[in-house]
Structures are given as C-alpha cells and as structure tokens.
Symmetry: C2
C-alpha cells in the first residue's frame, strides 16, 4: 500500500502544487486505488502516476470546499471514457449528491458504470472482509470528516514445505487448515492448523483527515495509526490565522500525531503563500514536536509502514 499526494496546495493551485487529492494504492490482490478528496485537476495529476482511472474503486470526500471537490465531475466522466465499467462508491458529507447529480445532469454526462453516492454520518462507512473505513467529524468552518482506513488482519501463510513433508495432499485440506480447522488425514494422523499456518499478518491503519483545527476527534480517529495525513495550512507563527479560518499549523498537526501515538505523520494542504523552500520550515518546526514528520511531496509514492505496535 502506498499513498500518492496528487495535490498539496490549500485553496487554489499554484505553479507546482495542485489542490487536494490523495491516492491510496490498495494491496496487489485488490488491484484498485482509492482517492481522498478530488480538487480540480486531480485527473490531470493522475496522468503522471501509474494509476488507471478505470481501477478507481472508492472516492472519499472529506468536506465540500471547492479545493477538495471541484475535480469530481471531470474524474467521474473520464473514468467512463477510459473504459471504467465497475461500480464506483462515492462517500462524503450531505450535499455531495446534489452537487454531483447537478453537474452530471446539466452537462448531460452519462456514466457507463453504476455510481453509488453515500452521504455519510460519523461511524463505520464501509467494511468488507479486508478493510473497514470509519469516519469522524472534525472542527472546520463546514462539516469536515476524517477517514480511518483499517486493513483487517490477514490469516498467516500456509507452510507448504512442511505440508509436503507431512504428505498432506494439496486440495480442500489446505483451505480448511488455512481457515483454522485441524484436519485428519486418510492414514488417521491429525494435522493441526496452528502448526502449519504462520502468524496472522497485522493490518495497517492509515488516517486521512479533512481540513481541521486541533480537536479531540482528530486524536481519537488517528489513535495508533501507522500513518496520519494531517493538514498544515500555516506555519506556527500564523496560529491566530489558522484558528480564525478553521485550520491547523504544522506544530498543531505534530501535537495531534504525538497525542495519537501514530507511526508517521505527513503534512499537506499548505497555504499558497509558502514557496517550496518554506515547506522545510513547516516540516522542521513540526519535527520538534513529532520527529517522524514529512511535508508531502506531490507525485511521489509514500509506502504505508507497519508501526512497531501493530507488528
């Protein structure tokens, strides 16, 4: 799993930084990617990544400010043009449906795939056997959600060499052993699942927060995450401005990361006032509070690490 920042600029694009969107490359067996937010130009940024729009599986909107939203109609349309036929799930605050359906209707855009729009509340918004996603409300000028993506633990690998030595024929017995069942062989011997199946593989937890000032829900949602994405619209000297506009400073983001005991913090959503070289300042002052901090760089893969806690 990897995160790609498709945009790291707050409010509007500037040369070299686009508005917010983050792509999450899902594990290989799933073969898809998810998007968090979809500022204008997100589909353009995807052209510089390995992602194919037809493989976009889910799209989560944190809040309905334009710099997180206005790329949505275009990406839905292009996904159809590029041959996407699988259903697409779209999650976000109430209002998302009216915005999306109005844009598609007035532009007479006909998607060739089912689009499911889920206007969410706090709580679990998605769950299947492999992943769950929980949403919580943060503290911004408008309803803004954070998303906690939890990879569920996977069953350990079968020790196929040992099974061969024991003379267990491959077939249904393998599946039963893997699912935790002990198996009695034809010759009467019992093979214990626990002897031939490795330790369960802990899942990873990645938390992406929408725009927010520091708030208890941010810490709660991010608790123990392997990776936390947090906005840092301003450097710490503009803490008053951050508070006024419902944003966080780099240091406040680091405090949340520290309090939530996450493995790694990545800062994004930088005010257009900051030049590339200024971002090192935001990063440095955050590291004084939480060392494992990086200022996001666009169009670069960030591996989702497994924190020591979850291993």
């Amino acid at each position: 799993m990897e995160l790609w920042f498709l945009g790291t600029s707050a409010g509007m694009p500037i040369s070299g930084r686009n508005v917010t969107s983050i792509a999450l490359r899902m594990p290989q067996d799933r073969g898809t990617f998810w998007l968090f937010d979809c500022g204008e130009g997100t589909q353009h940024q995807l052209l510089s990544t390995p992602f194919r729009l037809s493989r976009l599986e889910k799209l989560f909107i944190t809040h309905l400010h334009g710099d997180h939203l206005f790329g949505l109609p275009g990406i839905l349309s292009s996904r159809a043009s590029l041959g996407g036929t699988e259903p697409l799930e779209l999650y976000g605050p109430p209002g998302l449906r009216e915005f999306t359906e109005t844009a598609l209707r007035i532009s007479e855009t006909h998607l060739g795939y089912p689009l499911h729009i889920r206007e969410i509340e706090e709580g679990t918004v998605f769950e299947d056997g492999a992943f769950s996603v929980e949403a919580a409300l943060l503290d911004h000028r408008i309803d803004s959600f954070g998303y906690r993506v939890v990879e569920l633990p996977r069953v350990g690998a079968l020790n196929t060499r040992l099974l061969a030595e024991l003379g267990v024929p491959s077939g249904p017995a393998y599946g039963r052993l893997k699912s935790g069942e002990d198996v009695v062989l034809e010759d009467g011997r019992t093979v214990r699942s626990s002897n031939v199946v490795g330790h369960p593989i802990a899942g990873r937890v990645v938390v992406v927060l929408g725009d927010t000032k520091p708030c208890p829900n941010a810490v709660k949602l991010a608790q123990g995450a392997d990776l936390l994405v947090h906005e840092a619209t301003f450097a710490h000297d503009l803490a008053d401005k951050a508070d006024e506009y419902g944003h966080a400073t780099s240091v406040q983001a680091a405090e949340t990361a520290r309090d939530a005991e996450v493995g790694r913090l990545i800062l994004t959503h930088f005010s257009s006032r900051y030049k590339p070289e200024d971002l090192a300042v935001l990063e440095a002052e955050a590291r004084n509070t939480f060392l494992a901090t990086d200022a996001a760089i666009e169009l670069t893969p960030y591996l989702i690490p497994r924190s020591s806690l979850s291993e």
Copy 2:
C-alpha cells in the same frame, strides 16, 4: 488582441493537452481578457500565461458539456482569492445558472465580486462602445453556441503636428475635432475635422465556435471574420464518427472557413486519439481546402490579424 489556447483536447485531458478554453487578450486600453469555455484545469493553464485572473472581464460558455464547463467553479473562486473585485459577466446556454449557483452554494464559496450570469439566446448578447458579441446556435448533441466578437471601428488619430502648425490650442477643441465637429478658432478661421483626423481604424472580427457539425449558422456567423476558431475533433477519414457525435472533421472546418471567406482558421478540440504528430495530418488535409489554417498549439499567443477586407 491575441488568442491563447489553454486547452485543445476534446472530451478529456491527456498528457500535454488540456480540455477546452481559449483566452482573448483585449486591446491594451481595456486591459482585460475574456475566456471562451472553461474546461477543468483552465485556471491551472492560466498560471503559464501573462493573464492575471483578477483581469478576467467576461467568460463565454459555448455549451454545457463537461470538457467546456467543469473548470468554471474553480476559476470563479480563485478570481476572488486573487483579489478580483470587478464584476464578472458570464454568458452561456440555459442551465449555466443552476450549475454555477449549485456548485458555489454547496461548496460555500463566497465570491467577493458581483457575478452576472446571462443565460443567452441567439442574437447580440453584449455591446458597448468598443465591442459587440453576437451568438448563434450551431448543430451539436446539445445546445451549442458560436460567438462572433466584433471590434467596432475606432475614430482615426488626431494629427497633432498639423494642429500645432495651425495654432490650434490643445484642450476642448481637440475633443470636438476628434468627434467629427468642425471648430471655429478665436481668429475666425475654421478647422475642419476631416482635415486633422485620420481614417477610421477598422475593427477586427474573431469568431469562436462551440462544438458543431457543419451547419449554415457556422458559415453565417463566421462570415468575413479575420480569424475563425473551429473544432476539428476528427481527421477526415472519421467523417462518419464526427457526424454521429455531432462534431466536425478538419476538412469540414476548412470548408466552413472557405465558405465564410475568413482571413485565418485555427483548428482545435482534437480527439485524444491523436498524438502531437497526428495534428500535422489534420492541419495538412484542412490546408488543401483552406490554406490559411493552423492546428492550435497550447499556451502560444496568436495575434488577431486584420484581414485585407477589413483594412
């Protein structure tokens, strides 16, 4: 006056070509620019031009397909962020108001300037002392307008050297002479306006058509224009496909230019199937029908010439 193509791709952006928007740099004394269409990423493209968004005066939408429309909410919002305070006039087909107002309302975008949305019909949609704009309906899958921008003739320059020789004091008399009035001097001599004012300067005519198949209105609207911008979604071998989707081929665009006796034709809105080197083919086959044809290149200024007819 110059045209800048901010996007030349039909339907969706590809690497190196954005979706449709065209900027028209107005004469220096006006100090503004106009936009025709506003596909997603138009504001991003403007970052690579000399245009400042605060100087955007008018925005004309040809039709409501997403590749001509979805950049609109973002550009309206950024114009406010970048200090635009002057009113902005927005013209386009019915539906434009609902799309725009819904996007701004749901994203809680508060523009700091007056936005006037004009849902247009055929005919003159704008006129002041210097310019008029006429709209006509073309033939596409959805209502699609062409816009004829007419620079009104300007009064010729005052011959200030001659006036000095005649001993005419600068002041109110200059204005009266320029406006066509003859002036009697204090010593009783009469100065004739026609003797001291140069020939009127003919205005230029530029016509920008929305997506269309060949149709009589296209020829009529483009009649005698100094410059015509015409879509050429397909090369001539895909004339059937063009017809099916309500588009034109390069050769059909050239036929319209020839029939309308324009000064110059610029082709745009190329299908994403065409690579940069393919565009030379579209250009070449159009030139067989109408020599003064170019395939548009993005982010390059095209001077609006005065055709021999209008000089």
